[in-house]
C-alpha cells in the first residue's frame, strides 16, 4: 500500500502518460466518461470519479465491432490498438466483476479469443473505491461491495489529502514502479480512514436502496428461478422496444454475431449482439427458441442470475444500473426482481 498526495496525483499520471495510453474519467454533466489523457491534457484538472463511468469497461476489451478475418487468406488484420498497453483508471468494482465474466467467456472453454486476449494482456486496470453512488446503483444488492476486492492491478482509495494505492498484481507493481518518487508509506490512520470511508459508502448506498424500496438480502437466484411462469415478464415486455440498450450498456453482456462482407467475401466482423432481438435465437428453418419478447426479456434475467450463478458462481448482473438508465421503456431490473419476489 502506498500513499500519493493530492498535488502529486496529476503529476503521477502525467509521468505515466509518457509511456502508456491512459484512459481516465472526465466529467460529463453529472456523469463520468472514460477519455484518453495524454500530453495535451490539463492534468491538474483530472478529477477522482465518485462512481462508475457511463461506458462499460468491456468496450475497451471487446469493441462494438471488430474485424476478425481479413481479406487475404490467413491474415489477421493487425489491430495496433489492441496490442498497445492501456491503463484504464477509475474502473469500479461493478465493472471488474464484469471482466471476470468476460474472462470466463473469452479466455476459457474450447479456445481463447485471441482478439480479446490481446486487449486483456495489454490492459492494466487501475480501479478505485466508490466515494459516492448514483441513484441507480445497487451493487450491494447483488453480492458486491462498492470498492474493488478482486480483479484489479492497482486500486485507488481516496482519503483526506490524497490517495492510497494498493497493488495486487505484477502488472500493477510494474506500473507503480515507474512512479516511485510519488509514493510514500501510508500511516495506520490513513489505512483506518480507508476502511471508514468504505463503510460509509456501503451504509449510504444501502440506505438509499432501502428508501427506494430495495431491501437487502433478496435472493435473486431463487426469485428468478421460481418465477419462470410469472405474468410479470409479459407485463414488463409491453414496455420493451427491443432496442438492445440494456445489453449494450451492460458491462457483462458479451454476445456477438458475425457479419461477413458481401463484397470482400472472406472478411468477417464480430459485432455486439442483443438477446432481445427477435432474430437472436432464430434458425434458418424458422425455429426460434425465444419467439416472444417476454421470453427474451426473461432470458436476460435467467442469464444474469441463474446461468452465470450455475457456471461461475457469480451473478452476471453487477448492480451498475446502466440498463436502468438506458431503458427508454423504463424497465428497471431492480423493480422487476422486487415484483417477482412479491
Amino acid at each position: 500500500m502506498h500513499f500519493v498526495t493530492q498535488p502529486d496525483y496529476p503529476q503521477l499520471w502525467e509521468r505515466l502518460s509518457e509511456e502508456c495510453r491512459l484512459l481516465h474519467p472526465v466529467c460529463s454533466g453529472d456523469d463520468y466518461s472514460m477519455s484518453p489523457v495524454d500530453k495535451k491534457t490539463d492534468f491538474e484538472s483530472l478529477i477522482f470519479n465518485a462512481y462508475r463511468a457511463i461506458e462499460p469497461a468491456k468496450m475497451f476489451l471487446f469493441p462494438v465491432k471488430e474485424v476478425v478475418c481479413g481479406e487475404e487468406e490467413g491474415e489477421q488484420p493487425a489491430s495496433k490498438e489492441n496490442q498497445k498497453k492501456t491503463v484504464i483508471i477509475g474502473v469500479k468494482a461493478c465493472d471488474l466483476r464484469s471482466i471476470k465474466v468476460l474472462d470466463h467467456v473469452f479466455l476459457s472453454g474450447v479456445c481463447e479469443d485471441p482478439f480479446y486476449k490481446a486487449f486483456r494482456e495489454a490492459t492494466v486496470f487501475v480501479s478505485s473505491d466508490c466515494s459516492g453512488y448514483k441513484d441507480v446503483c445497487f451493487c450491494t444488492w447483488v453480492g458486491l461491495n462498492p470498492f474493488p476486492e478482486e480483479g484489479f492491478d492497482v486500486n485507488i482509495s481516496p482519503i483526506s489529502g490524497g490517495y492510497l494505492f494498493e497493488t495486487a498484481t505484477d502488472k500493477g507493481q510494474e506500473l507503480i514502479g515507474k512512479v516511485k518518487k510519488f509514493l510514500a508509506e501510508p500511516t495506520q490512520a490513513q489505512l483506518d480512514q480507508r476502511e471508514a470511508n468504505r463503510k460509509k459508502t456501503i451504509e449510504g448506498l444501502n440506505k438509499q436502496m432501502r428508501e427506494q424500496g430495495f431491501t437487502p438480502g433478496l435472493d435473486h437466484e431463487r426469485v428468478i428461478r421460481d418465477n419462470f411462469d410469472s405474468e410479470i415478464w409479459e407485463r414488463e415486455a409491453e414496455r420493451c422496444v427491443e432496442c438492445g440498450a440494456c445489453n449494450f450498456t451492460c458491462p457483462s453482456c458479451h454476445c456477438f454475431f458475425f457479419s461477413d462482407d458481401k463484397q470482400k467475401v472472406w472478411t468477417r466482423e464480430k459485432n455486439w449482439d442483443s438477446c432481445q432481438y427477435k432474430r437472436y435465437a432464430r434458425v434458418a428453418g424458422g425455429g426460434n427458441a425465444r419467439q416472444m419478447l417476454a421470453e427474451r426479456l426473461r432470458h436476460r434475467y435467467i442469464c444474469k442470475f441463474n446461468f452465470y450463478k450455475d457456471i461461475l458462481d457469480v451473478y452476471a448482473c453487477t448492480g451498475c444500473g446502466r440498463c436502468v438508465e438506458a431503458c427508454i421503456g423504463g424497465i428497471d431490473i431492480r423493480k422487476v426482481a422486487n415484483e417477482l419476489n412479491k
Binding site: 489477421q76 479469443d113 456477438f256 458481401k262 434458418a284 426460434n288 425465444r290
Partner: protein
C-alpha cells in the same frame, strides 16, 4: 495470425462434387485445404462466401478426413446461396465443434436410430461408423420418415442398407404418391411395432424439432429412460466455441455441450423443442 490461432478463420475448401438428393436437399462433397478430422456427430461451421456461416453436421464417415460430405437443405439465405454454387467453387470450414455420438456406449447393444427429413444426414455419418464395426453391435434398427417419397434422402443407400446383415431399415412418408408402395404415416407410428430388448438398447434421434419431440415422447412411452435417448439439438450455433451466446439451452451451450445431448441432460429445461 493464421487460422491455426484465429478460431474465427475458416479453412478454405473446394466443392468437389454436388449430389442432388431431393428438390431442396443437396450433398456437397468438399475438400478442405487442410484435412479436417472429426468424430461422428460433431458439427462444422460452413462459410458460404459473401452470405455468412451456418452449422452442419457432416454426413460422411469420420474415417475420411481429406474430404467431407455435408447434406444441406436450402432454407435460409446461406443455404440458398450454397445451393446455387457449382463444383469447383470455394467454401470455408471451421471446426469440428461440440460433442460426438457416444459410439462406445452403443457397443454391444441394440441401437435404434430414428431420423426425420434431412436429419438423416448426421445419422448417416453415425451409421457409416457403426457399419464399419458392425460385429460390435447386436442390431441396428433404422427408422426414417420423410414428407413425401420425393423428399427421401440417400435413396441410393436404401437397398444396400436394407440388405445389410444385422440392419433393419424401414422407411415411411407422411404423404405418398401413386408409385409409392411403402409405409405412409409419421415415423413415430413405425416405433409401435418394434420388438426391443429395452434393457440393452439405446436410441438416437435426429430430425426437425417437432419430430424429435414426438419421437422422444414415444420412446419414453415404449420404455426407454431419458438417459438412453441421444438427441441432436438444433439451435443457432454461430461461433461454435461457446462464446457468442446464441445457442444457449438451459445451462448449456449447444455448440459446446451438444449438438448430441442425452435427453436426461435437458429434459427439465423449458423450451427444449422450440
Amino acid at each position: 495470425m493464421s487460422s491455426i490461432n484465429n478460431p474465427y478463420y475458416p479453412i478454405r475448401a473446394k466443392i468437389e462434387k454436388i449430389i442432388t438428393e431431393t428438390p431442396t436437399i443437396k450433398t456437397f462433397v468438399v475438400r478442405p485445404e487442410t484435412p479436417i478430422t472429426f468424430k461422428t456427430g460433431q458439427f462444422v461451421e460452413l462459410t458460404v462466401p459473401g452470405a455468412g456461416e451456418a452449422p452442419f453436421t457432416p454426413s460422411s464417415s469420420p474415417s475420411i478426413s481429406e474430404t467431407m460430405e455435408i447434406t444441406i437443405m436450402a432454407v435460409g439465405c446461406a443455404t440458398k446461396r450454397l445451393h446455387a454454387m457449382v463444383e469447383g467453387d470455394e467454401v470455408g470450414v471451421r471446426g469440428p465443434y461440440g460433442t460426438a455420438y457416444a459410439v462406445d456406449e452403443l457397443k454391444g447393444r441394440e441401437v435404434l436410430i430414428v431420423g426425420g427429413g434431412v436429419g438423416l444426414a448426421p445419422l448417416r455419418s453415425l451409421l457409416l461408423t457403426l457399419f464399419a464395426e458392425i460385429e460390435q453391435y447386436k442390431k441396428i434398427i433404422l427408422r426414417y420418415g420423410a414428407r413425401t417419397p420425393e423428399d427421401i434422402v440417400y435413396k441410393y443407400h436404401i437397398d444396400e442398407w436394407q440388405k445389410k446383415e444385422k440392419v433393419d431399415y424401414v422407411l415411411t412418408v407422411d404423404k405418398g404418391n401413386e408409385s409409392w408402395k411403402g409405409n405412409v404415416g409419421l415415423v413415430t407410428k413405425l416405433l409401435d411395432a418394434l420388438r426391443l430388448d429395452l434393457k440393452n438398447s439405446k436410441a438416437v434421434v435426429c430430425g426437425p424439432p417437432i419430430m424429435m419431440k414426438f419421437t422422444t415422447l414415444k420412446l419414453l412411452e415404449i420404455g426407454y429412460t431419458p438417459a438412453d435417448i441421444y438427441l441432436s439439438m438444433e439451435k443457432n450455433m454461430s461461433c461454435g466455441l461457446g462464446k457468442c451466446g446464441h445457442c444457449r439451452l438451459g445451462t448449456y451451450y449447444v455448440c459446446e455441450d451438444g449438438p448430441v445431448m442425452r435427453y436426461d441432460m435437458i429434459k427439465d429445461f423449458r423450451g427444449v423443442w422450440e
